[in-house]
């Protein structure tokens, strides 16, 4: 297993470089112009000069290595300098956003708190609710609980957030005036009262997002449990006189986790990709909003950096999932 992990880690370096290249070329090919959001009153000659100042005049085979250098060498140097007070970076150019002309990593760091609070929390909540629902639904298949769970989760999944989010705002912010409709990203939790405020502003976006996660994970959990509950080994275990809870929670659950692990692992990079529509509706302005505004403004350095960071997460999470398969089911061998 260890050699497999090491081999995969080594292999992920060329994989990621290749992915970076593909993303870069995709963005290069995609139509779009960072000057498109400028008012039409700005004359074309001025726009052309602005484009040059952004470095867009140079061909891709110059800009791609430049980005690689900035991402893998300059940025870690800055990070190191900041932590230990050294000066390795020596004033080298960092990755600069076209829109804000500021280092993209600073903006990404600025967006992390609200992304983790809202999207991350909703994921944890969603998974924690989904697992028991999936298990009970499968164990008591076609019971009232199962039917209700199925109904709610499928409706929840099929209602798009641009509708459910606005519906929640209309009910809880406009009619009842219980919850704020606009998320305050500058809010800092310092004590009990501010914590309560934080909870109030998180409730609606977390609910909308958690519903999606819950629906998805609980369906896979239920299906996989059902498959395993009918297996011979379950009958054998019961016949041996094992208690029902040991049979279900230890044997069946463990064997049913493979697809669930896959889904959960694939969902984690998505947290950091943010929830574009939900963030937009509640004005959470996390990484999802950052990515979509960057995409709409053709802010190539920003889009490139965020998508590449996501790619790193995707590759790592899938590696972790593969390792977990081996631990959960020792029969799976990779060598």
């Amino acid at each position: 297993m260890l050699t497999y992990t090491l081999r995969r880690l080594l292999l992920s370096i060329p994989t990621l470089l290749f992915i970076a290249f593909v993303i870069f070329m995709l963005l290069e090919l995609a139509p779009g112009d960072p000057m498109a959001s400028m008012p039409l009153t700005i004359p074309p000659e001025v726009k052309e000069k602005m484009r040059e100042a952004l470095g867009l005049g140079r061909p891709w085979y110059v800009r791609f290595p430049l980005w690689l250098n900035q991402f893998f060498i300059v940025e870690p140097q800055y990070w190191f300098d900041q932590t230990f007070g050294t000066n390795f970076a020596n004033g080298a150019q960092r990755i600069i956003s076209f829109q804000s002309r500021s280092p993209v990593f600073d903006t990404i760091a600025e967006r992390m708190p609200q992304t983790l609070w809202v999207v991350g929390m909703s994921y944890v909540v969603g998974v924690l609710i989904a697992l028991p629902i999936g298990i009970i639904s499968a164990y008591k298949q076609y019971s009232v609980f199962d039917q209700a769970g199925t109904f709610v989760s499928m409706i929840g999944f099929s209602v798009p957030p641009f509708f459910s989010g606005v519906l929640l705002i209309v009910v809880f912010s406009v009619q009842l005036k219980w919850l704020p409709s606009i998320y305050d990203t500058t809010h800092v939790v310092t004590g009990w009262d501010s914590f309560v405020f934080q909870l109030r502003q998180m409730v609606m976006p977390v609910m909308v997002l958690a519903l999606q996660t819950t629906a998805q994970v609980s369906r896979y959990m239920r299906a996989s449990m059902l498959d395993n509950l009918g297996q011979d080994y379950v009958r054998t275990a019961r016949a041996k006189g094992m208690s029902e809870s040991v049979v279900v929670m230890k044997h069946v659950l463990r064997n049913s986790m493979l697809p669930v692990i896959t889904v959960i692992a694939l969902g984690i990079p998505a947290i950091f990709g943010g929830a574009i529509i939900t963030e937009q509706i509640f004005k959470v302005n996390g990484l999802g909003q950052l990515l979509i505004t960057a995409l709409q403004g053709s802010d190539i350095p920003m889009v490139m950096t965020i998508t590449f960071l996501l790619a790193v997460l995707i590759v790592m999470m899938n590696l972790i999932a593969d390792v977990l398969y081996g631990i959960l089911d020792p029969r799976i061998r990779y060598d």
Partner: protein, 317 residues
């Protein structure tokens, strides 16, 4: 030669009774029957409806804008209702019923096609990667790559490269349809692929597979007879979720200006356009919202019923 006849005989004889069994079992699942009935109904509503309800969904009748659905007349005698528009009209006076029918055609077509494409691609890649160790690395790294691609620029590039050739070859409507279906399909198979691969890797080491292999079963038979039936349930789940995702993604694309032209209604787009007027005209979000949700729910129940019906361990009971 003998092998072939054996297989053929199996195909001719056995399946008949097997599929009869499956159908009998399926019929006992109430949810599945209800789901199937609804699916047939909504498909007929969208496919045949426009012939019976002969109103052009794109026709604007500005004098008759904001007509409320007919049942509003029951609660509120002052409501503007008209039998000519039983579900009411929108803010430009387009008939909502005709739009839901027309929108259903496109949404169902996009949903099904993209879902089938995603499931077929995902299952194929997942099975190949899980079964053939040599392909695993390559296919899974490819999956990582596609997972990492941002959808929006990808679609923009596809539009740039293929829109005009497709428009010339199939006309504007079909051309855009093909593009969108392909776009959604090729960016939503990865989860299925990874799940199927994981399950296949585990199944491959099970006793019955080892037994089958020891008697020299060829890979193709192994996959179709032993592996696929056992990964059916996660595939069913991804198919159901995939259908919902495809319908919703299409509406998100229209919102970003990458979808169908504005004069082609889809359920998602009708829903999206109506959100701003949700409090004054709730019917405009309820109808398309219900249509999407019930379709997804119906497919889910059919999936459940099929899974039970195809599982011989359950079928016996």
């Amino acid at each position: 030669m003998t092998d072939l006849t054996n297989v053929e005989m199996e195909v001719v004889e056995k399946p008949r009774s097997q599929w009869r069994d499956v159908w009998d079992q399926f019929k006992t699942h109430k949810g599945a029957v209800a789901g199937l009935s609804f699916l047939i109904f909504i498909t007929l509503f969208a496919a045949v409806g426009p012939f019976l309800w002969d109103v052009d969904p794109g026709r604007l009748d500005i004098r008759n804008k904001d007509v409320r659905p007919i049942y509003m007349g029951l609660f509120d005698s002052s409501a503007k209702v008209s039998w000519a528009n039983p579900m009411g009209t929108d803010n430009l006076g387009r008939d909502i019923m005709a739009n839901i029918m027309q929108g259903g055609r496109i949404s169902l077509a996009v949903g099904w096609t993209a879902m089938v494409l995603a499931v077929v691609l995902g299952t194929t890649i997942g099975v190949l990667a899980g079964y053939f160790k040599r392909l695993d690395g390559l296919l899974m790294r490819f999956t990582d790559l596609v997972l990492a691609l941002p959808l929006l620029p990808l679609l923009l590039v596809m539009m740039l490269l293929f829109r005009d050739p497709l428009r010339a070859a199939f006309g504007p409507e079909t051309g855009i349809f093909l593009l969108i279906v392909a776009g959604i399909g090729i960016t939503s198979w990865m989860q299925t692929a990874r799940i199927v691969r994981g399950d296949v890797m585990a199944l491959k080491e099970r006793e019955f597979v080892l037994a089958a292999r020891s008697i020299g079963t060829p890979a193709r038979r192994m996959i179709t007879r032993h592996l696929l039936p056992n990964v059916l349930s996660p595939i069913m789940v991804s198919a159901t979720l995939g259908l919902a995702t495809a319908i919703i993604t299409e509406s998100a694309l229209s919102f970003l200006g990458l979808g169908f032209p504005s004069d082609f209604p889809t359920w998602g787009k009708i829903l999206f356009d109506s959100v701003d007027r949700m409090t004054s005209f709730p019917e405009r979000v309820i109808w398309p919202g219900l249509a999407i949700s019930l379709t997804v729910l119906a497919v889910n129940y059919i999936g459940d019923g099929l899974r039970d019906a195809l599982d011989p361990r359950i079928r016996g009971h």
